[in-house]
Symmetry: none
Subunit: 231 residues, 4 copies
Amino acid sequence: MPRRRAPKTAPRREARQARSRATVEYLLAATAKVLVREGYDRASTNRIAEVAGVNIASLYQYFPSKEALVARVFERYLARLDDALTTCLARIAEAPLWPGLEALLRTFFSLHDDDPALHRALLVHVPQIDRVNPMLALRERMTGALTAYFVQRRGSLRSTDPALAAHLVVTCAEAIKQRAVLEDARLLHQERFVSEVLELVRRYVVARPVSAARARGRPATSGGSRASRRR
Amino acid sequence: MPRRRAPKTAPRREARQARSRATVEYLLAATAKVLVREGYDRASTNRIAEVAGVNIASLYQYFPSKEALVARVFERYLARLDDALTTCLARIAEAPLWPGLEALLRTFFSLHDDDPALHRALLVHVPQIDRVNPMLALRERMTGALTAYFVQRRGSLRSTDPALAAHLVVTCAEAIKQRAVLEDARLLHQERFVSEVLELVRRYVVARPVSAARARGRPATSGGSRASRRR
Amino acid sequence: MPRRRAPKTAPRREARQARSRATVEYLLAATAKVLVREGYDRASTNRIAEVAGVNIASLYQYFPSKEALVARVFERYLARLDDALTTCLARIAEAPLWPGLEALLRTFFSLHDDDPALHRALLVHVPQIDRVNPMLALRERMTGALTAYFVQRRGSLRSTDPALAAHLVVTCAEAIKQRAVLEDARLLHQERFVSEVLELVRRYVVARPVSAARARGRPATSGGSRASRRR
Amino acid sequence: MPRRRAPKTAPRREARQARSRATVEYLLAATAKVLVREGYDRASTNRIAEVAGVNIASLYQYFPSKEALVARVFERYLARLDDALTTCLARIAEAPLWPGLEALLRTFFSLHDDDPALHRALLVHVPQIDRVNPMLALRERMTGALTAYFVQRRGSLRSTDPALAAHLVVTCAEAIKQRAVLEDARLLHQERFVSEVLELVRRYVVARPVSAARARGRPATSGGSRASRRR
DNA sequence: AATGAATGAGAATTCATTCAT
DNA sequence: GATGAATGAATTCTCATTCAT
C-alpha cells in the first residue's frame, strides 16, 4: 500500500463532456455512499470505483487520490451551508447585534439535514487538521465575518475583544451542532434545545442583558418562521 | 490488510511479571511516539513493534489489535485528567454553584500539556465515534456528574433543565479546549482567554448574574493558586 | 504502478536462520530465472515471488525493491569473476608487463560461462548507468589496479599515460567479451579469437613490440594451461 | 499493463499532409524530451502524447507502440552518423589502409554531440538486444563495409582475418566512444585522447607499423581540419 | 481525421496477524 | 514465553491501448 507522503487534492482533469461529467457524479455519489456505509478507512479507491461502476483508472483520471474525492464531497456538502450563511450574513448586515446573530445561528442550526449519515461520516472520519478540510475554511471565514459583525456593533457587545468573542461563539455553536448531528440530529429541530443554546450565546455576547421579554423579540430578517413557532 | 470487523480491545494477558510489564511499557511508549510522528494511519503494528524493540508476535501477546494499543494509550493519557477532575469534584461537593464550577473548569483547562503533540494526534486521528474512544466515556461521566451537581444546586441554576445545561457546558468547554490544543495550546495558559471562557459559562449557568465584583470572588476549593494570580 | 523515485537497494533484513536463508536463495534463483526467461521489464516482484514459491510480502522482508534483487543477483554473478581477477592480480604482482597482462586477460575471457543466458540478460537489460550496477564498481577497481600495474612497469609501457592506457584496455576487453557473450559465447573459447584480441592489446601496450616469436612465449604464472594448449 | 509480446514497429500510416507531419514531429520531439528527462521506463505513451500536445489516440494513429516511437527517435539520431560515415566511406574508397581508416574513425568520434543527454538516454535505457535497435543495424553495416575495406587492402593488413579485424575495430571504437559519451563527452574533443585511441587501432591493423612520423601523416580525405590542429 | 473518454490488466508495496521453533 | 519467519489479502496507482463521437 504505497501511500503518498503528501496526498494531492488538486483536481486532475476537468470533465467537459456530458459523459465524463456523469462519471464524476457517479464517483462522488459512490464516495459518499461508501463513506457512510463503510467509513473512511474502508473507503478505498477501488471500492469507490466499484460502487460507482467506473473503472479505477477513470477515477484516477479525475481525482488524484482518495483525499481529493473526499474533499470534493465535503466541499459539496458544505456548499449549501456556506451559501445559506453567506446569504444570511448579507441579510443581517444592518441588523442590531442580537437579532442578527440569532438569525445567523438559527440558519446554522437548521441546515444540517441534507444527509445526516453523510454528515456524521464526514465529521467523524475525516482527519480534522487536514489543511484541505473545507470545514476549516468555512469556519475561518465565519469567524472573520462574525468578528467584523461584532466590531461594527461594539457598543452592544459585552466583550471588549470581538475576535475572541467570535472565536468562542463559532467554536461553541459548531461543537454543539456537531455533537447533535453525531448523537441525535433531532435535537436541532427542537425549539427547547435551540433556544437554550441561543440563550447561552446571547448572555455571553450582548452587553446588558435585556429583559427576557425583549430578548425573545423576533430576529431581524431571517429564521422568522422558526422563531415564531416558539410561542 | 485484513481488517477485523469488530476490533477487539480487551487485554489478552495480564502482564504480571516485571519483564512483561516492561514490554508493555515499551509498546505503549512506541505507540505514542509513532502516533505523534507518523499519524494514526501510518502507525502499523509492525512499525510500533519495531520502534518498541519488541517482537511483533509479542505485541500480539499483550494487545489483540492496533486499536487496543491506541485505546490503552488514550486511556492512560486521559487518566490524569480523569483523576484531576474526580478529585476536584470531590472537593467541590459542598461548594456553591459558581465557585465550584469555576474550579472544575480551571482544572479542566489547566491539565492539557502532558504532551500536546500526542494530544493533537489522538484528537485528530482517532475516529471519534469509536465505541472504544475513552474520551467519550470520560465525557459522559463528566456530564453525569455535572448534571447531579446542577440538580443539587437547582436554586442557583438559571436553566430549568440541569441535564441540558450540563450537556452544553461540557460540550462547549471540551470544544474550546480541543481547539486550543489543536491551534495554539498557549491560550489555555492565558488568563485573558480563560476568564473570557469562564464568563461565557457563568453567564449561562448562574441564575441571577451576580455583580462582576462578586463573580470574581475566589473559587471554592481548588484552582486557587491560579485564581489568585488574577488579581 | 507507483514507482519509487530513487529505488532503494540496501538490504532490508538479514536472513539468519536456515529457513529464511533458503527463502532468500529461492528468491535470487527465481530472479535470475525470470530475468533470463522474460527479461528485465517483465520481471516483476510479483512474478519473481511466484516463481520462487515465496509470498510477495516475504520478498519485501528481504529486498526493498526489484532493483535490490537484481543488484544482488548481479553481484553474486560477478563475485566469481571478481575473485578470479583479484587472485590473478596477486599472482602477477611481480611479473613483467606483457606476460602478466596476458594472464589477466585470459582469466578475464575464460570466466564467462557460469550461465551465459543470465549473463546476457544482465548485460542487456540492466540499465548501465545505475550507480548500483556492480559491474561499474568492478570495472573501476580493475582500471585502478591496471593503472598501478602499468605505473610499476613504466619502462616497458609504450604509452606515457598509464591511466589512459588502463582505461582503454579495460574498455576494449570488456566490450569484446560483452559482445561475444551477447552474440556467440563460444568465441571466447576459440584460441584464434582470443589470441587476436591479445595481439590487439599487446601491440598497444608493450613499448617495443617484441618479435612475434618472443611475444608468444608463455605468460607469467596463470592461465598457463590454456596458453600451452595453443601450441 | 498489457504488454505486447512482440512490439510492432512498422509505421502505421504515412504522414503525408502537412498537419500530420507536424504531429509526427511533435511526437518525436516529445519522445526525445521525455526520454532524456524521465528515462525509458517512465516514458509512457500517455506522457509523450501529453508533452507533445497531441491526443493519445492520434499518437496511436502514427505509431503502433512506444517501441516504435523510440526506435524512430533512435534512427533519426543515428541518421547523421550514418550519413557521415557513408560519405566518409565513399571518400576513402581509394585511400590507403591507414589514412582511410583514421579518417573514418575521426569522423566517428567527432560526431557525437548533437544532444549528449539524448545519446546517453538512448544508450543506457534502450535494451540493447532489441532487434529493432537501429544501432545494431548500423554496427553491422559498418562492420561489413570495414571488412570489405580491409579485404581490398589485404596487403597492408596485419591480420589474416579481415572480418575479425573489422569486428574488433568496430567493437572497440564503439565501446570507447560509448563510454566517453556516458562518462565525459569532452574526451572525444581532446586530441590527446583521440590520438591514443588511433594509435591503439593503427598498431593492431597496419601490417608493419610505420614510423611514428609517417603514421601521423594527414588522413586521406576527411577529418582534416581536426588532424591539422594537431601540429 | 481528431479527440475526449474509457478500461483491463497489472505493478509495487504494505498491513494485520499467525506459526513454528 | 519470546522470536524469526511467513503470508493472505488489500491498497494505491499506472500503463498501453481502444472506443465512440
